[in-house]
């Protein structure tokens, strides 16, 4: 009998986790390059219940993983020379103290040495490694669709755009960065277009998130109700048995 309560509990735990993920999506609805996530649930068959005459095994709900939607976010213009948006499947490569990180957030700037860096000051990798150094005295920076950086007539480097065969190799590391957690090596993405003066908005669809939010709240309520009626049932059973005595 108590199994019903435990099944309900497992569902409630997953619903709470799902709410956490929705909250993170909504909080990042305005974060450049953010990719929406959702929780995948699965059922876990447990050992058959120990009540008499229960033929079916009880199934609990468990979280199977977080699905990340790497779909393109909308590009919008900003007018800033070092704002870059990626059109297609690819990532910028950033060299941090902890190693290479990947990002779709193209809000770059120059640091005091003239290197192209991220918000956090980590240098953006050029094609084949290395940094891209701009001399501000040489005029405006132009970045072509293939990532070539030029000032006036001189090409001074090329911004690396990498892709992964399997996107599940990547794990979020915060600060809009992704970390490669597999042995998979990224490769250059030649068919991807870099757009200068544009940024990729987050691909969170607010209406979907709010709908899921309502769904989660209601599902939580109905599981609570189910648990209540289960408790009711056992209370009534106890009362009746008490009368038979």
């Amino acid at each position: 009998m108590d199994n019903a309560v435990y099944v309900g509990l497992s569902r409630q735990m997953i619903l709470r986790r799902e709410l956490d993920i929705i909250a993170n999506n909504v909080a990042n609805a305005d974060t450049v390059g953010f990719k929406v996530e959702s929780l995948m649930a699965r059922t876990e068959p447990a050992a058959p219940a120990e009540t008499f005459g229960a033929p079916k095994p009880v199934k609990f709900v468990l979280d199977a993983g977080v699905a990340r939607d790497f779909g393109q976010g909308a590009l919008f213009t900003t007018g800033s020379d070092l704002d870059l948006g990626i059109e297609g499947d690819g990532f910028f490569e950033v060299t941090t103290e902890e190693g290479a990180r990947y990002t779709r957030d193209g809000r770059f700037r120059l640091d005091e040495l003239g290197r192209i860096v991220t918000q956090a000051g980590d240098p953006v990798s050029g094609d084949g490694g290395g940094e891209i150094i701009v001399n501000p005295q040489d005029g405006a920076v132009t970045i072509a669709a293939d990532g070539t950086v030029s000032q006036g007539e001189n090409a001074i480097g090329k911004i690396a755009v990498m892709r992964f065969d399997d996107l599940s190799a990547l794990e979020k590391a915060g600060d809009n960065l992704l970390r490669n957690v597999s042995n998979l090596q990224p490769e250059a993405a030649p068919d991807v277009r870099v757009r200068q003066g544009m940024l990729e908005g987050s691909n969170v669809k607010p209406i979907l998130e709010i709908t899921r939010l309502i769904e989660v709240t209601r599902a939580y309520e109905s599981v609570t109700r189910m648990m209540e009626s289960t408790a009711d049932l056992s209370r009534r059973a106890v009362e009746r048995m008490g009368r038979a005595n």
Partner: protein, 262 residues
């Protein structure tokens, strides 16, 4: 419940966004003002189940892990140093920079501050000063019998004295550029200070390679675009509302949990 805290980070981020937007709108008519933009980043992720972990002795692996994000934070508030429109004022001491470069201002403390606001005037000694009376660097002294002054594109200041026909050079205005303009620190009064992030100032005459030119009788208007700001304000307000909706949903769920009868 994590969702409550996550939504709270979303609300405080949007609040910061509104603060930055309102400062932009408030400075829509400030000479030489550069608009700012709040930049957001996602917070750290809490890994509950790691992708790629072994799920059996046979070497099968978990294809997708479970990571739960902690919300959003403000990465930085970035200054967009786009050129503002130049507006005609008719005042001979008003100067606008077209292109890169800042005027250098000598602060009372002896430090040098930098500004794009070129609405200058003369003080009692005939020195070219800012609205607050701070001298610009290098100092320009206009003789008190000057009948007219002219500032060339390249920053040369010439004055014609009373009773004379020949112009006389009285000074040279110099501009400063930085590798990373956005790294300068605003100290109010349209002034900016050099920081480690901006790199050292590179001083030169207007019109030289990498420096903008001067325009006399004009000032540079703020580069705030009202339509963009209002749109950003609407987005921020709605995002704030959505985050508050998440808080009430989390609250409702907690309420449902509390209402369970034993």
């Amino acid at each position: 419940m994590q969702a409550l805290r996550t939504a709270a980070t979303g609300m405080s981020a949007q609040q910061l966004n509104v603060e930055v937007i309102s400062n932009n709108i408030a400075n829509m008519n400030t000479v030489g003002f550069k608009k700012q933009r709040a930049e957001f980043q996602d917070l750290l992720y809490h890994t509950i189940e790691r992708a790629g972990a072994q799920s059996s002795e046979q070497g099968t692996i978990v294809p997708a892990g479970v990571q739960i994000g902690g919300g959003v934070k403000a990465g930085s508030v970035y200054r967009i140093t786009e050129q503002g429109a130049v507006t005609n004022t008719g005042n001979p001491y008003d100067l606008a920079v077209e292109g890169r470069g800042f005027f250098q201002v000598l602060m009372p403390s002896g430090e040098t501050a930098y500004t794009r606001a070129g609405n200058f005037s003369l003080n009692a000694d005939g020195q070219l000063v800012t609205e607050d009376g701070y001298e610009i660097q290098p100092a320009i002294a206009v003789p008190n019998d000057a009948t007219s002054i002219a500032v060339s594109k390249s920053g040369q200041v010439q004055a014609i004295r009373a009773g004379q026909t020949e112009a006389e050079v009285v000074g040279q205005i110099e501009l400063a550029t930085f590798v990373n303009d956005a790294g300068l620190e605003a100290i109010g009064d349209n002034l900016l200070m050099e920081t480690a992030a901006s790199g050292p100032a590179n001083v030169g005459a207007p019109g030289a390679d990498g420096f903008g030119t001067l325009l006399q009788g004009y000032t540079e208007a703020s580069n705030v675009d009202a339509v963009t700001e209002i749109t950003a304000l609407i987005v921020a307000q709605r995002a704030y509302e959505m985050n508050s909706k998440v808080i009430s949903a989390a609250d409702e769920m907690l309420q449902a949990a509390n209402a369970v009868k034993s």
